[in-house]
Symmetry: D2
Subunit: 485 residues, 4 copies
């Protein structure tokens, strides 16, 4: 019985966060804290693998929040050692609604030269082809996850060491991958040649840390050292420190621009820029691109808040909390009543009537995906007596699905795939609706000239339809890229 999502969150969802530690006693405890700080990257399940010379590799995987599982002494005692990695996940395209605990990472494999565990953030776009090939040759898959391919490719490599086998394996893989892995003696980090997903290196005392985001370094008091570079593999051991390799053919990097817009936490630093500041800057750009006369700028909490602050600052229109979020809301319900199923966004948000009534409201949200939530919010705002409702969206229209580790609806479910901005405005029933332009977004992330259309600085496929890696499994299933249309 799959848990129910009573309100359509109507967001693109990052699918994973990864974290690893070497050189600290009780490393798994640090991994648990790191995963807690990365919980926004995946709330469905989490897992930790640790290694200790006495007990060998130990592993625990659990559904639910990190804080509800990996804080218990009785569980953490089963994960001893000074080397550990972990993973939080949302869900993968393949297994929606039927995720089994065996789909929860890290994945572990026992090879002739010892064991290895890997945790993967991203998505392998040729996973199905690889899986077919591997099964043909006698590999037995245990999960429905695309990431399991990596460990089977490693098992079949003829290389003598695990890092060399990992290079072999990752060279066969297409798509986006920020991988944190471990052997009995080494912590390993790898980013795909485009560097689509983030991965950073930190230092704490004698120990080293790999993390999806810097906010998870902060929680354990680790110092931010640098980002792992696109196409880089690092091997980390207490003895040799950080060894760096570049096993892939060089390509221009294409970091996911949506990490700036929504996925990453505002207190993280991406590419040297504060995520919070970038989002505030988006609000400023938006106020310049799409000004409107109004009485109050309100964020759709909490993701719209920094852009709303920027919009208010730039426009001079006061900022206020027109929508209040219930702090005690989780994501899913087990076996919910009919009424809960129908409540939708009201379980989570309430309008601050006294503030809204009679006013012209600018609502700042991070994105419009299917538009379902936006419609409900507009309705709540008007019920509360707002005079006008103007939507300002801190990203361009989301018109294309992501195949690099983000949970997106099918293309035809994306409002912007088949509606113009004006059609969307009418569909949402608001007085005005404006999205930031792609150039405006690029300016907000620091590209003062805007987007370099010949050689885009970021992956913006969800807005532009320009996929930097062809999604080959999907194409085989009939997906038409923009070029093919």
């Amino acid at each position: 019985m799959p848990p129910a999502h009573p309100f359509d969150d109507d967001k693109l969802k990052e699918e994973c966060g990864v974290f690893g530690v070497i050189g600290l006693a009780d490393a798994a405890n640090f991994v648990a804290l790191g995963l807690h700080a990365l919980q926004h990257r995946g709330q469905e399940a989490g897992g930790i693998v640790s290694y200790d010379p006495v007990t060998g590799f130990q592993s625990a995987r659990r559904f639910g929040y990190v804080r509800d599982n990996f804080t218990k002494a009785s569980l953490m005692e089963t994960l001893p050692g000074s080397l550990a990695i972990g993973h939080v996940r949302y869900s993968t395209a393949g297994s929606k609604g039927q995720t089994a605990i065996r789909d929860v990472q890290p994945f572990f494999g026992e090879f002739a030269m010892g064991g290895a565990a890997i945790a993967h953030n991203g998505n392998i776009t040729n996973a199905e082809a690889l899986r077919r090939e591997l099964i043909q040759h006698g590999s037995i898959f245990q999960s429905s996850s695309d990431s399991e391919c990596i460990i089977h490719l490693m098992a079949r490599s003829f290389q003598k060491t695990i890092p060399e086998r990992m290079k072999d394996a990752l060279r066969r893989v297409e798509g986006a991958f920020s991988v944190v892995a471990m052997t009995r003696t080494k912590l390993i980090g790898v980013r795909d040649p485009l560097g689509v997903r983030p991965l950073v290196l930190g230092r704490i005392g004698d120990g080293w840390v790999l993390s999806s985001e810097t906010c998870a370094l902060d929680i354990i008091g680790a110092e931010f050292v640098r980002e792992i570079e696109p196409g880089e593999m690092v091997l980390i051991s207490p003895e040799k420190g950080v060894e760096s390799f570049h096993p892939f053919e060089h390509r221009s990097s294409r970091f996911c621009i949506f990490e700036h817009v929504y996925f990453s936490r505002p207190d993280s630093i991406l590419g040297g820029r504060s995520v919070y500041e970038t989002r505030r800057q988006i609000g400023i750009e938006l106020a310049r691109e799409a000004p409107v006369e109004a009485d109050l700028v309100c964020p759709v909490p909490d993701s719209g808040t920094p852009a709303a602050i920027g919009f208010s600052h730039e426009s001079g229109i006061p900022y206020g909390m027109g929508i209040i979020r219930n702090q005690y809301m989780g994501r899913t319900f087990i076996e919910p009543t009919e009424q809960i199923r129908n409540m939708g966004v009201r379980l989570k948000l309430n309008v601050n009537r006294a503030l809204i009534a009679g006013k012209r409201i600018i609502l700042v949200d991070d994105s419009v995906v299917r538009g379902t939530t936006s419609r409900k919010i507009r309705e709540m705002i008007l019920d509360a007596g707002a005079a006008e409702v103007h939507f300002r969206i801190a990203s361009p229209p989301t018109a294309w699905p992501c195949f690099y580790g983000v949970d997106t609806p099918q293309r035809d479910k994306l409002l912007a795939s088949h509606m113009s901005e004006d059609e969307m405005r009418d569909y949402l029933g608001v007085d005005s609706l404006k999205f930031i332009s792609l150039d405006g977004l690029y300016r907000a992330v620091g590209e003062v000239e805007g987007r370099n259309d010949r050689c885009p600085q970021y992956c913006d496929a969800c807005f532009s339809g320009e996929y930097p890696v062809a999604p080959s499994d999907m194409i085989q299933k009939g997906f038409q890229t923009k070029a093919a249309q």
Copy 2:
């Protein structure tokens, strides 16, 4: 094994929320939604009692959040009927750390003329004396809750109807009580003569609703009718509608001013005033009373946010999110590791380094209780490189415990009970520390002349030490009121 609170939340805690519905099919479902909206008033446990002619009174009590228990179809099916009441609780002074499920309300009693259930927000200040007396006469108590007295007093009344018995019982009771109760045919609401805790009446279709706050009317789409008056009892039935009685001797009302400062949700309306707007106004008053030169106004999330917005607005200093809250944080941990126990506030809050570094920061918080959290936040802010830290507190110094349904530390644990403002500033290690004055607070809630010291308009005992009802149980145990000192 009591669950652990790894970080000292360091707030006064409202102890209860109450909600009741009559005249709607599946009333318990509405109660569940109402309690979800009141979850901020009590997170430890919740309970619902419903009545249906076929099944009689049915009851369910659970530890944990409403959303994790009272959303399940299999549980809600056991609570049929068009009449139901519910309760969320934090914990009572008596049973801290050892709360049993039998302490969870509503309490139920079977009387000669039928059953009744009651849910109580507040605290009975002569509960221990009453309990001793009742036991002397043969009553058997099932819980350690002060509220259970009410049902035993009702059981012993010679009155012929349950409402009359409730009047008898509540006339014996001292302290603060907003009660929602039910018989087989009626929903009952009562507020103590001072009206310390809130209680409001709502209407939805043919049904009636009683709730601690208006925000819980919103979630079910009920219309706000009016507040139950201090000293009023209402009997509500589908046939007769709302009947009003005033069974107690009249006194001037003394509503809890801290409901405006912190307890109530910002989207609720108290005494005709928006709580959000009052808090913003507090920020404005604070900026006037205690201005300071600085670069950024930051709220301590989330309770300091409206006052910070007001402070920024009045002072002209930009508003920014200098501290980021982890959305996936709950309140307690079961059997936590040593490390979790020591993490404290870092599990919940992270500093937005890039925004803070090098700046003079004004931190706006709602209150200072023991000061433990404030010290940790100051430390985090300075670690992140702030140039100066100025605390501005949206309430006067909390120097006295509350005995009217709020969980407060013992007097000597309250920082303001034994330190002056300057001593507190030095203790917290900040560049400046200012609290709003009591008069400023009264102005912010609309009393333009400030506090009427001869006849205060609110209960402000936690600031002033002037208790409108003598806490007789506590006095017997040796507590010294200000007057007695």
Copy 3:
């Protein structure tokens, strides 16, 4: 959702077992072991109350087997002290299928002079009248159990000590009661004037034990001292040892004869007689009263085994295990599949085909209640190829319900209430069916002259319809005793 009983066990069911210990460190652990040994007297739920000067009274109640709950260190640590009592229960007439944890004993009451807990085996035949009266005077009941009356009667007594209050209370009570109770300093045992249910005293080191049966003394290594006498109350403390009182008017004792036939464990000793030996003797009497030519004597396991051994011994017909019992069978199922619901006795018993085929079988069972199981067993035996099936029953026909603490079907569901022996034989479809006579049963328990009809030595109401205490609540509801018919 009540758990399902997939096969109709078709037995009378003892409703409770009680056990208490004083003067041994960690008394609750001994109580847990004693209750495990008494599990046959009640499988639905169990509870333990302990007292320690530091922690006061502590209590735990759980559904399910003792061994699944009261063996865990984490639970048992919450029950410290050298004084503890416990209870296992099947279910009471009132609450079948909807038992709540609050119906699980021991019951606890806080009186003016301190707390007391009681555990009761038996049934109070005027409980409903008492309950009405108590509610009229302001008592609030928490359970649907008849036993709760006792604690409320105690609460209302004017006596100065708990034992005196207990005497007051039990003098108001009609029916059967073997009570084990405790105050902060004393272990208390009481048996009703007729001594319907068993209660024995044991000694272990410096400690004392009260138990429903001697088999529970064996498990903790306690020595059997004597039975508590009908109408006796004992107060036990380490200082004064065992003090004996006789607070009730004297009556001739009427011990339940069915305890010998079925309820008690074969390794217990009742009234100085081995239960096993009595049952074997019943088999011998039965072989004399109702001989039949056959090839094999088979018990219906496990309760028919001793009588079958006796029958084989007396008749000279070989004894064999014609029916095999599945060792892994429990009593109830939660949310069972349709198929499980329909499996009935096959989940528990299987016929030993190879042994049965072609043979004339004597099946020895302890009783016939509704006859449902007997029919299924006959069917299984014939399917397996038996040539003849002869039932021999180790008790007289069960024609009347028990109101003294045994779960019996309503009178019209009892096969013997409306069928003669011949009619039952035809209904069950067996070649012959014979019950032991009432006199034969009395001889087997040692009354060489058989039953004294003028003044029966035992309570045999379930066979004779002669109720030694009028079941007043049931009579008020319309039950007709034999005399009344």
Copy 4:
């Protein structure tokens, strides 16, 4: 935290039972019932895999009894289809005390031509060598089970069909295997060439059944067709019925003689003989071989019962239940108190004092393994006042470990490995101790001439040390067979 075994059961333990059904709607329900009837072959965990064209392969694995898991409608609904197999397990040598759910069978593999699931009873004696080889070639193992080799060998076979791949795989495997497997369309059964473990074929309506024992055919009402022959593979489909193959080189069969003595249920039929009758016959042989003057023959319940009946019959000494078993005893405890850990066999058995006192007792038990339980029973019997205690054992001295799917202690823990019969008698402290002779045992199973020492009819390695298949993994680890000594 592994569950604790508070009493040393001191028995050899069968490690698995297997069951499969094809051609019946809701096949998984039948498998659940079959596994319940086979629960004596493995109590630690169970698993079921089913196949339905709509949902594909579905699987559920659970720790604990079948009746506590696979009876729930909500679980069984997830296992649709007319083809299912299942497995109950005790534990394997490799993973004792740390069994993970991933070690629970059936194992499943997705091959190029579709999926297959297998359940294995027995033990693969070259599993470690095979595992090393498979890992060398890139297979990734998910469990610590020897049985997982089979599915990886199948994955690597070049054969085009699953049955052909299974033949390939099983030809590589040494040791004992009774396998039940399934593809999308076929139920498959295989027995190793020696036929060490049992496997039978049954028929019910249009469906076919494979089961470890006939008792599990009875519970679902299936008719016993025949045993699968040693070295036989059957493919079963509704269309073609049962197809038989003999893929292995022919060898003389060596069925495990201990299945007759202890492992199998007494109501099963092995090799055309009633297990109950064989055990009774063992008692008769034992009475002839080792007579003794005494007053009472008592079984050690429940496994000694049939032999005790036979002994009593042959000797003329009365049979009686001198030891009573607690019906509510399970095998393991989670987190037990110290006291529970120390209770040992008293939690399970109690002496029937009144029957034993003053008598000369013959105790009939099925085997002596480490002797720990036998010593405790002797002590309990003497404490109860027995005049003499004579042990008669229904099997020869167990002097060698089993490597064919039975959980045995290491050789030096077996009492008979280093003590003569007289030394064991003195060690156990009994008046006499006699084991049945190996020839006597062979006569009891129908070999009137006794054991054919040149070509033994059964595997009796645990008694004789003559291993029909060399335990190659163990030999590599240093185990010395009799021949090697």
